[in-house]
Every structure is written in C-alpha cells, then in structure tokens.
C-alpha cells in the first residue's frame, strides 16, 4: 500500500510528481481540437476556422463563429453548472432536460402577450384572458420556483429515502416531461412579451452563462457549501463523522441543480420565443457529457466549474467545426460519443495512477 522509501525519522512527501490540475489537460485538449480544425480548414476548405478571412469585415478573428461556438452551448452550459455540483457529490442528475421542458412551458404561459397582429393570442389551456401581458418578473419567479421545486423533490428523495440518484432523477425525468405535456395538453406556448423575449436576445444567454459559471466557481472554491460538496463526494462516511449534515447538504445541491435548470428554461424559451413540451430533450446527457469532458470525476470529489466551462467550449468547437467542414450531423454525434467515452477512460486512468502512488 505505501512505498517504503520514507526518510528516516520523518515523513517525506513527494511533491515533485504532483499532477497538473485536470483543467489544464482539458484546456490543452481544447486548443488541440481548435488547431486541428484550423489545419483541416486550411487543407480542405481553403478557409480559416478561427481567423477572419473576409476583407469587408474588421477584426483578426472570425467574430461570428466565436459567438456561435459559445452561444450554442451556453444554455446547456447553465444546466451543466448544476449537474457538475451534483456529480461532485458522487450523484447524477438525469432530470435536468425534462425540468427545462416543464419549466419552459409553465413559465412561458405566464409570459404571453394578449394580442398578436390584432388577433387574440392562442392561450395556454389553464388561463382565461386575464392572464396576459404580465410584468416580466411573474414568469421569471414562476420559472425559478418551478425549477427549485423539481430539484427539491429530487434532493428529498435521494437524501431521505436513500434511493440511488440515478433512479430518483430518472423518475423526475419521466414525470417532469409528463407535466410539460399535460400543462397545455401538448400545445406549444408562443408569443411572449417583449421584456421576456429580451432575456434570451442576442448574446444575453452567454452573459448569463458566464456570470453563473463565475459565481458558482467561486462558491465551490471559497464557501463552506463548496467544501462540503467536495467532502461528501470524496468520502461520504468521513463527511458524516465530521459532523456535516450530509442529507441536508444533498437536498441543497439538487435544489440548486433544479434552480439552474429553471434558469436555463427561461433563457431557452425567451430565446426561441416559444415553449414546447419536447424542449430540453437529451439536454441532461449533453450537460453530463460537458462535465465529464471537463474533468469532473463521476466517482465524485473532483472537478471545477471552470473544467465544465472548458468542456462546454469543446462541445461548441466540435459542433461548429463539423459545420465549418460541411460534415453531416451524423459524424458530429459519433465523434461526440467517442469523446465522452474517451474523457471517462482518461479520468479512470488518472484515478488509478494517483491511487498507485499513494
């Protein structure tokens, strides 16, 4: 178990072999992928992936492409911030995509305008004419409460019935999707107020994503909440023996994940100007994939939000890169799958290397 080469009378600690943080590896991977697309672009398309090649547009970089890369991952990225925290505690959240669908439907039904082009707007089935043109705070609060409630239910089941997170959140995944369909009997909800639509306009989803990422990166690093999140994922029994209220903390973590899914739902429906029951389908898996690619260990205790953001960027670069190379979406999915498995294999390898060293 322990190597026998300790110095006499003291305990020598091997600090020289301390591994690079996982995020450094992810950042390097991100750079390599970008470089690969740049080279392939120059070879195959006679165009640059990253740099501006048009004379009538100012700037060194291809601004439009960079914006799209981050914009298309920012909404799932918001979900991934919550999923990351769940995974750090050693859990998993399969329900976030469905929570997005449910929350988008319910929040949007409080954000509709009364009339479109002089005609009455098609109303979500539950409300009569009075419930239109509400102040933007109403759908926002409804959406946040909706996400929090779903996350809270997840957390309570996981913490107090001790059923595996996989099962609890699988149940929520199915049920929340059911609620999303039941809310309007399957009808989409459209035409939000201008102030609601403004939430998802332009690059706002990116700004919201970055702000939340910075906020939760700092929370995980500098607060008691963060420390306990890592401790539970690292050694739940030790956390309990140290007097940490593990059950209550798990409820909090899953509730925050629900809240973030709720925020993602508001941004998504505002951006799309509509909500449909099928919204957010498979988002949970993309969010988990972003976290895993970003170096979050599925066995818990390790990873940072910065890693997840880098994982999300890798996702965005791959999607944009394939579109840029004019390759079919089928190949994107195949490669995405391979990268997810590759990231987990790498994580296992890192783990086994660090445990043989101890």
């Amino acid at each position: 178990m322990s190597d026998s080469s300790h110095g006499v009378g003291g305990l020598s600690f091997d600090t020289s072999k301390r591994a690079l943080p996982a995020e450094a590896g992810v950042a390097i991977a991100l750079v390599l992928i970008v470089v690969a697309f740049e080279l392939l672009g120059r070879l195959l398309m006679h165009d640059s992936f990253l740099f501006n090649t048009r004379e009538n547009v100012p700037g060194i970089f291809n601004q439009a492409r960079l914006q799209i890369i981050i914009l298309q991952v920012s909404i799932i990225g918001i979900i991934a911030i919550g999923v990351t925290q769940v995974i750090i505690t050693g859990g998993i959240d399969l329900s976030s995509g469905s929570i997005v669908g449910m929350t988008a439907m319910i929040a949007m039904s409080f954000a509709q305008v009364g009339q479109v082009n002089g005609m009455d707007n098609t109303r979500a089935v539950f409300f009569d004419r009075g419930w239109v043109d509400l102040p933007v705070i109403v759908p926002i609060v409804v959406g946040l409460v909706c996400g929090i409630a779903a996350g809270l239910i997840n957390g309570l089941f996981i913490a107090y019935t001790r059923i595996p997170p996989f099962i609890a959140t699988l149940g929520m995944m199915v049920s929340a999707r059911g609620v999303a369909k039941w809310w309007t009997a399957g009808q989409p909800v459209s035409f939000p107020t201008e102030s609601y639509a403004a939430i998802g306009a332009g690059m706002r989803p990116v700004i919201i994503f970055i702000c939340l990422a910075i906020l939760f990166h700092l929370i995980l690093k500098y607060t008691v909440y963060g420390k306990h999140t890592y401790a539970i994922g690292s050694n739940e029994a030790a956390a309990r023996m140290s007097g940490i209220n593990v059950a209550r903390h798990k409820v909090l973590v899953y509730t925050i994940a629900g809240l973030l899914a709720g925020i993602a739902a508001i941004v998504l429906s505002a951006k799309n100007l509509t909500a449909q029951a099928g919204m957010g389908m498979m988002y949970e898996l993309d969010a988990i994939a972003m976290a895993v690619i970003g170096g979050i260990s599925l066995s818990g205790g390790r990873g940072t939000i910065l890693g997840t953001v880098l994982g999300a960027l890798i996702f965005g670069v791959i999607i944009s890169g394939f579109t840029f190379l004019r390759l079919d979406a089928y190949y994107q999915e195949m490669v995405k799958g391979a990268i997810i498995v590759g990231a987990v294999v790498l994580d296992q390898w890192r783990q086994s290397r660090s445990s043989t060293r101890s």
Binding site: S2, L11, M241
Partner: protein, 276 residues
C-alpha cells in the same frame, strides 16, 4: 435498562468514590448499547483523569470500538450515563462531541481523499470570514496557519499542506488524522488502532506523537492490540470481553501475560466477576 441499582450491585463503582470530581475528564456509568438483539456493550463503568493515558484492550468484537462510538456520539447509546469534563452530557451527534473537546482518530481514517490537509483538519467546522449560512466565506489563511501550528505541536513534518490526502502514504494520512487533535486543543483524545496499518518507521512516528501528547498532559484513550505499545505508552489498561469490562489494571501491577489472561477470559478481576 442498566440502572444505578445494577451498577451498585456489581461493585464496579468502588473505585469511583476515590476520585476527586474535577479531576475526572470522562466517566461513564452503566453504558450499554444493543444492536437489535445483540448486546454489543453491557453496563460499562469507565473513567479517565486529566493527563492520564488509558489503553483499551480486548479481542475483536469485545466492544472496544462500540464503546468509542457511544462516547463520541457517532451512535446513540441504548442506556447509561456519561460525564465529560465534570458535566453530565448527552451529545446529539459527533460534531457536538468534538465541539465539547473529544477528538477521535477513527479506525477508518475519516479523511476526504480529494481535499488537502487544512481542509481535512477543519472538515465540518471550517473557519469563516463572513457567516452567510451554508454560503459562508472560508477563511483559508487562518485555517492554514492553525494547521501549521498544530502540525508543529505534534512534530509532524509535512512540507506541502496543500497536497491532497490521496497523494499520501498510510503513515502520512494517520499523522494528518492525529494532527487534528493538536489543532483543536482537545480535552480528550481517542485513537482507535492508530498504527494497525502502518510500517515500523511510521508506527514510531505515531508513537512519538502520542508521547508528545503525554508530555503536554493531554489525556488519551488508546485502543490497540499491540502489547508493547500499550505498555510503552499507557498508565492504565482496561480490558473488554464480550461487551463488558473485565479488568482495570495499572501498568505497574501487571504484565503482558497477565493482560492476555484477562483478554482471553482465563482471568477476571473479582469486582467485575458478575460481568463474566
């Protein structure tokens, strides 16, 4: 279940009466724990005074670790009374026991592998800069300083306290676990087989830490199977057998063979005779 009446009948309280109340750091009376039908701990009367190092010995399953789990409130006792530092106590959880000043090095080390040394030392009672409930800001600077002071006090040398536990050897981990006690100025330290998994040099290191605690007058309860270690480090040996205390021996009055006789059941002290 185990009332005062029973305790008095057994005669085991005889030596309690000699003690000056303020001198006793921990005292249990009739401490009992049942797991369903299993009587893991029966009617245990135990005490330890300030500055004393007491060894707890006994065969596997004799109730040693169960005893520790009751006084540290990792489990709730079935019945019995506990006094700590002159006061009757009923801790509602391990954190309450730690806050009162009982510091335990558990058999399973209770360290979080992915966290570094200060994080582990302060796990569950982090120092805070601003109190915002669960989102309180951590005071890393103060925790790092207290960690270095605690390590210095115990003589544990760790060049880089930012290193995570997973990168450390068994001995190093054990030293970190023990350093927790020094950092928090505990009133009573309990160690559950601290050297069971360690090599010769690492064991020597841990024993030096225990000697340092003795010099500083810190009371210690040491659970160990190692007779040499117990004879080296402790003033008194209390032997458990089948959930009960069967002997309370001063080191000067006994030897290894004698203790083994009590552990195996060949002998029982007369005042504990009803227990066997």
């Amino acid at each position: 279940m185990a009332s005062d009446l029973q305790t008095n009948i057994s005669g085991a309280t005889a030596h309690h009466s000699e003690t000056v109340p303020g001198d006793v750091i921990l005292r249990t009376e009739g401490l009992t724990k049942h797991y369903g039908g299993v009587h893991a701990l029966v009617d245990c009367n135990f005490e330890i005074r300030k500055g004393e190092h007491v060894a707890i010995m006994g065969d596997n399953g004799a109730g040693k670790s169960t005893f520790v789990r009751q006084i540290t409130a990792v489990e709730q006792r079935t019945s019995g009374k506990v006094w700590f530092n002159g006061e009757y106590v009923e801790f509602d959880g391990p954190l309450a026991a730690r806050e009162a000043g009982i510091e335990t090095v558990f058999q399973t080390l209770a360290l979080a592998d992915h966290l570094d040394v200060p994080d582990n030392l302060f796990l569950g009672r982090e120092l805070r800069k601003f109190n915002l409930g669960p989102f309180s800001i951590l005071d890393y600077k103060a925790m790092h300083k207290a960690t270095r002071d605690g390590l210095e006090k115990t003589g544990v040398k760790i060049p880089n306290i930012r290193n995570t536990i997973q990168n450390m050897s068994g001995g190093q981990r054990q030293c970190v676990a023990i350093a927790r006690t020094a950092t928090f100025h505990s009133k009573l330290t309990i160690m559950d087989e601290p050297t069971a998994a360690l090599g010769v040099q690492e064991t020597a290191q841990v024993e030096n830490i225990i000697r340092a605690l003795k010099e500083q007058g810190e009371p210690l309860i040491l659970i160990s199977h190692n007779m040499r270690q117990v004879m080296d480090l402790c003033d008194r040996i209390v032997v458990w057998r089948r959930g009960r205390i069967c002997a309370n021996l001063r080191k000067e009055d006994t030897d290894g063979e004698d203790v083994v006789a009590y552990i195996t059941g060949a002998k029982t002290q007369p005042e504990y005779d009803t227990a066997a």
